[in-house]
Amino acid sequence: MLKDIVVLNEKETRGGFGEGILEAGRKNPNVVALTADLLGSMKLQAFIKEFPERFVQVGIAEANMIGIAAGLTIGGKIPYTTTFANFSTGRVYDQIRQSVAYSGKNVKICASHAGLTLGEDGATHQILEDIGLMKMLPGMTVIVPCDFNQTKAATIAISEYEGPVYLRFGRPKWPNFTPENQPFEIGKAQFLSEGKDISIFACGHMVWKAIEAGRILEEKGVSVEVVNIHTIKPLDVEGILKSIQKTGCAVTAEEHNIIGGLGDSVAQVAARHFPIPIEYVGTNDTFGESGKPEDLLVKYGLDTPNILAAAEKALIRKKH
């Protein structure tokens, strides 16, 4: 049951990345870190302290960073590029497309401050299109972990996977509820509850909001299946199908434009294999703005009540 999930503490997912890259670095001497002048924001201090010779400061030059990372892989290293999600993707899309994805390079593009919860820095920095941009690239793996512990586990797991990866996480302190030192299986959906009435598929920060909404639904007697789709690509088609064939309706929740994000991916599975009513929670073809993270989630319709409303709508559509 969702009510049994315990919040261990509140921590930044980017902090999980910082701990994860340190541990990945200890496990594998080929792991190197690059940053475009954001080492503090990316929580790289501990890694740099322990492995100063495996760190590259490229300056505020993201295109160069992606190219250098591609070059480093040819030398056998596993480069982790680090900057904000906006500068990790949109700014350098062609570099990623040609020099990393098409070339099949083992580059790990690690992106913090994704989505609205970046907060006060506003629309220029709050990318809400990056999941779509990255999932469209052939061969690119796209991972959006839900909390500190999972981000740490994912950061370690990608060092053991050969191929280009986009790892997306965020800035604010957020409920940390998944187990410490958990195994992380790329491409495998995480079922947080079992239910038979409705599926809620979420990623990143919105997984916690989905749990909150699910708890309320449970109290109302609705049997909810909350599923953490931490890997947008490759998508766990089998897991999604198994869920929707049982529940018959779904809600998707993501801190991203509903055009091109998690919701689209889930809907494609449904459309191709098992059409059901789906409601989307996410930003809708809009840029963000400056504000406190929680306030922005409310304003843009990404809060717990929005998931609840979407679920009720999906349940009604299922009946008709």
Partner: protein, 269 residues
């Protein structure tokens, strides 16, 4: 260094590239010809590479960033035995791995390029990897002049001296013509030497068609591990070797017809 055999190789590169471009009805022969002598010197006498082992760990890396001029690189790789020459017949044909922008699927080719401004950042990564791993290889990046319009290159020009990448040699094929205009009219690069000097690079200027000069400069740039990256500005002639192509904007994109092909081949023989 045998200037005669290198000159012969450069001629063979031009003839092979010309035939490939003619048969495929593709373009960019002017930019292939302008760098043919540089490629001949690199593969004859400068690069530590082994056609029978193209992935040899400590090979020198040549990154062709001006990927549109790939016909000349494919040609020299074929002539040097990286793959059978017959396979070049598929260049630009359906199903071929010999794409008309350079493809990393071909033995001896380090990177795919086509979208410009990619080679130098990758070259910096390769040079940095060699530094950090204490490997002996030198990374060469052959770039076009028009390509210097791309901002990503200048991120690399800023950073490479900071990282002390003295195992990196950039060669600019300065043929003065880009896609649809003269470089000086599109974005004038001058004063180019001073730009690179201000960026703390060691700058060499050569005639990109003088075999001996190319060899002397590239080999000394390769040998000097003095803490500073090197850039070789090679003054070249677009379409070099065929009089009606030389310095003509037309031959960036034009594909030769049968008459032009025969005329050009005659001049190159």
């Amino acid at each position: 260094m045998d200037a005669k055999s290198t000159t012969y190789l450069a001629g063979e590169i031009r003839k092979t590239a010309l035939s490939m471009v003619y048969e495929a009805k593709s373009s960019h022969i002017g930019g292939a010809f302008s760098m043919a002598d540089i490629l001949a010197v690199l593969y004859e006498d400068v690069l530590h590479v082994d056609p029978s082992e193209p992935k040899m760990v400590d090979r020198d890396r040549l990154l062709l960033s001006k990927g549109h001029a790939c016909s000349a690189l494919y040609a020299v790789l074929g002539l040097k035995g990286f793959f059978p020459m017959e396979s070049l017949a598929s260049y630009g044909q359906d199903g071929s791995s010999f794409l008309t922008h350079i493809s990393h699927y071909i033995p001896g080719v380090e990177i795919s390029a086509g979208s410009l401004g990619h080679g130098l950042p990758i070259a910096c990564g390769l040079a940095l990897a060699a530094k950090r791993k204490a490997r002996p290889w030198t990374t060469f990046c052959l770039m076009s002049d028009g390509e210097l319009d791309e901002g990503s290159n200048w991120e690399s020009f800023l950073l490479a001296p900071q990282l002390g990448l003295d195992n990196l040699v950039v060669i600019i094929d300065y043929n003065k013509i880009q896609s649809l205009g003269f470089v000086k009219d599109v974005i004038d690069l001058e004063p180019l030497i001073q730009k690179f000097e201000a960026f703390k690079w060691e700058v060499f200027t050569i005639d990109g068609h003088e075999i001996q000069e190319i060899y002397t400069t590239l080999s000394s740039a390769k040998a000097a591990r003095n803490g500073v990256p090197k850039v070789v500005i090679a003054h070249t002639v677009k379409g070099k070797g065929v009089d009606f192509m030389e310095n003509k904007l037309l031959w960036h994109y034009k594909s030769p017809n049968a008459t032009e092909y025969q005329q050009a081949l005659g001049q190159l023989d």
